[in-house]
């Protein structure tokens, strides 16, 4: 059956390139209760492009919404504590680089009162000021460079993707239940600052999405990375040299809505706990930076070494089970590490249980009889080589960009060429699938990140 809005307001853009990796361990749409984590940590490295300057001392009390650190170059960018509590540690690494700031939540929660506001009566500047004040602006990223947005630049547009298409991705429609009003308020606020685009999936039918107001709704149909905001920008209004767009996650739009509706910050996310090694994959409510010990305890397999990931298997951050929910993540994944696996003569064995887009693994024949859910571990399964095969990346990148040539320009450090080939439009996450399929095992995302960082240093 066609979704209703096929014929109504939203435009549909069909994407053919890409890849859905069907993994085992999708979260069922129900909540499980997690014991209050107690500790919350902000990791400055989660916010790309930011040089942190800590503004609290150890043992100092902060309220929920009180700043923990600011950006040295833009002191108005405040990174605030998700909970009220006592700063227990400010960890520093080499050259006194700030690694993390941890807050122990107190029993009683005190909030910084920012005051509820009616968005319709605010100007663009007032919205921006409110977001900066409450530390929510730091959830807005910008392209070019895929860094936390520079508040002094007016973007040509703001993009939000309301669906995640990556492996085992959480359902935003599920997270949206009960938050529809906050979501719309958040959209209203963003739309005050610039023209705002909301990208939804053709499979989504919640009216809060399909009938969202003050934004341009576009439906996308196709495999991952159709849900990546970068792909949607490229299809709707690509970033040219000299232009800036902002992007923000759909759940962060709810954060903004809560701020304007209640006057307080509430950084609670709906987090999908997923992966083949999670005993009961389901959703839970966690605030940004929450300690994860209680989430994993008793809920993962115990007979092998595991890899814990904050985020998804393509772009997530490797963590230990006693670390924290990443600032931008609403998914946790647990997969086998795989170090104890020694597959014999992999170059010639059929390996039917191994996933590959390459048809030299004949698992594609079995998949013809119904899609299977795979258990994949963290092995690289090959040595790093120079790029040998061509046309591997193009098949999974639905952009009019030549990924291989862009990567080579980055490796060569040729700035003109990078610009010509479209580096301003991309973020490392858009290239995650390229890295997954690469037969030469090239660390594609790292190359893109280094290219963006190098270019930013050169330009700004």
């Amino acid at each position: 059956m066609k979704p209703l809005f096929y014929n109504s307001m939203a435009n549909v853009i069909k994407l053919r390139k890409g890849l859905d990796i069907n993994l085992k361990g999708k979260a069922t749409e129900e909540y499980f209760l997690v014991k209050e984590p107690g500790f919350y940590t902000l990791v400055p490295d989660d916010f790309p492009g930011v040089t942190p300057k800590v503004v609290v001392k150890e043992q100092e009390y902060v309220m929920a919404g009180g700043p923990l650190f600011v950006d040295k170059n833009h002191p108005e960018l405040k990174f605030v504590s998700p909970v009220g509590g006592v700063v227990t540690s400010v960890e520093r690494g080499e050259r006194r680089k700030v690694m993390s700031i941890t807050v122990q939540a107190t029993e009683e929660q005190n909030y910084v009162e920012f005051g509820a506001k009616k968005v319709s009566e605010l100007s663009a500047d007032a919205v921006k000021a409110a977001l900066l004040e409450a530390g929510l602006f730091t959830f807005i990223k910008q392209r070019p460079y895929d860094v936390i947005a520079d508040p002094n630049i007016t973007p040509k547009a703001i993009f939000i993707s309301a669906f995640d298409s990556s492996p085992l991705a959480p359902s935003f429609e599920f997270a949206l239940k009960g938050e529809e009003v906050n979501f719309q308020t958040g959209l209203d606020a963003l739309a005050k600052m610039a023209k705002t685009y909301l990208g939804i999936s053709v499979k989504q039918s919640a009216t809060a999405l399909t009938q969202a107001k003050n934004v341009t709704v576009t439906a996308f149909d196709g495999p991952h990375p159709a849900g990546n905001v970068g792909i949607q920008i490229h299809q709707l209004s690509p970033v040219n040299k000299g232009e800036t767009v902002w992007t923000i996650g759909a759940e962060e739009v709810i954060f903004i809505g809560r701020l304007f509706n209640t006057g307080r910050i509430d950084l609670t996310r709906t987090v999908a706990v997923t992966g083949s090694e999670v005993l009961k994959p389901a959703y839970c409510k966690l605030a940004v930076g929450a300690l994860l010990t209680n989430v994993f305890a008793g809920n993962v397999t115990e007979d092998k070494e595991l890899r814990y990931i904050s985020g998804n298997v393509l772009t997530g951050k490797r963590i230990s089970p006693n670390q924290y929910l990443g600032a931008f993540h609403n998914q946790l994944t647990v997969i086998p590490e795989g170090t104890e696996v020694h597959e014999m003569a992999g170059w010639i064995m059929p390996r039917f249980n191994q996933f590959s887009v390459n048809r030299s693994y004949f698992s594609w024949l079995l998949d013809l009889f119904g899609k299977r859910a795979y258990v994949l571990d963290a092995r690289i399964k090959g040595g790093e080589r120079h790029m040998i095969m061509s046309h591997e990346y193009d098949k999974v990148l639905p952009m009019d960009i030549l990924p291989e040539f862009l990567l080579k320009a980055i490796i060569a450090g040729d700035i003109d060429r990078m610009e010509q080939l479209g580096i301003y439009e991309v973020a490392p996450e858009d290239f995650a699938l390229c890295e997954f399929v690469c037969s030469s095992k090239v660390p594609v995302q790292r190359i893109v990140r280094e290219g963006l960082d190098g270019l930013r240093e050169e330009m700004c």
């Binding site: 795989g338 014999m344 170059w347 390459n358 030299s360 061509s390």
Partner: protein, 392 residues
Amino acid sequence: MKALRNYLDKIKPNFEEGGKFHAFHSVFDGFETFLFVPNRTSKLGTHIHDSIDSKRIMSIVVIALIPALLFGMYNVGYQHFTHTGAQGGFSEMFAYGFLAVLPKLIVSYVVGLGIEFVIAQWKKEEIQEGFLVSGILIPMIVPVDCPLWILAVATAFAVIFAKEVFGGTGMNVFNVALVTRAFLFFAYPAKMSGDAVWVSGESIFGLGKSVDGLTAATSLGMASTATAPNGYPAFSWDMVTGLIPGSIGETSVIAILLGAALLLITGIASWKTMFSVFVGGAFMAIVFNTIGPDTAMANMPWYEHLALGGFCFGAVFMATDPVTAARTETGKYIYGFLIGSMAIIIRVLNPGYPEGMMLAILLMNIFAPLIDYCVVQGNISRREKRVTKSNN
């Protein structure tokens, strides 16, 4: 299997930094990763990876070459027995061919892989798999009478100067196997062309019969030396099955197409390149048929052109080498088409060499980056137009 793994784990420390066999670290690593999929896990970037790796890819290409190799062995025996009049059935012919080809295969692999091992160790890198394919290609594109020492010299030359100086597998500009052949062709023309090299006149371990001064021309050789405008050999099914004199692996269209099928089903070779080589060849042959000079080579029908010589072999296994071919999708059509047509042009218009496939592919290897440059430039100008559009 478990015992093997334990043994490897036991001896592994000897090959690591400070171990007594550290000088053979790359070799050990090469063998270990062939025996077992490396269990290294990702440190950054994506946490999961596709199972494909370059070992798998190279192995599939080698498997695709097996039908042509086996048929080539049989044909070496078949040609010897028919031309010398020796008595023997299928098994003797195959055994003869096997014994004639095996030393070439061994020489090619030992020399090539030996150099790769040394260089990998020297550069402290892993051994790259590229030569697995080159190593089997090299004996298949030389005449059966090519002496082993010449083959060894040519292989060494190609691996060092066509590949390693450029940075190894993935960085080479020219197809390594074809550079080997080109080196042989220009350095030792007497061993690579003419009438005396295509059929072995020696008996091997009592198989076959020694005949002095045995000559047998390839079909293309006959066509190029023919004086009559229609002096090319008539098309026969032997040209398709491959029971004709020629380089060891190139004669059988059927065996080559079996390999092509595997490469195309697995998607390892680009059908765009392969298909357009054939289109280019057929197109140019038809052009010569209609408006070309009145020579036997120009009058040869297009299907015969495609079936003879190294055309099929080059189109399927050489032109599709992803490293030296055009890397853009549009570029692949152009690249393939130009190889096909250039091969026929060389065959028809040059008086010296009856075969043009090798030179056509090497020539287009040079132009592949230029073709890609033009395609990439198209992408760039689309992006630039977008800017002007959004500014107006």
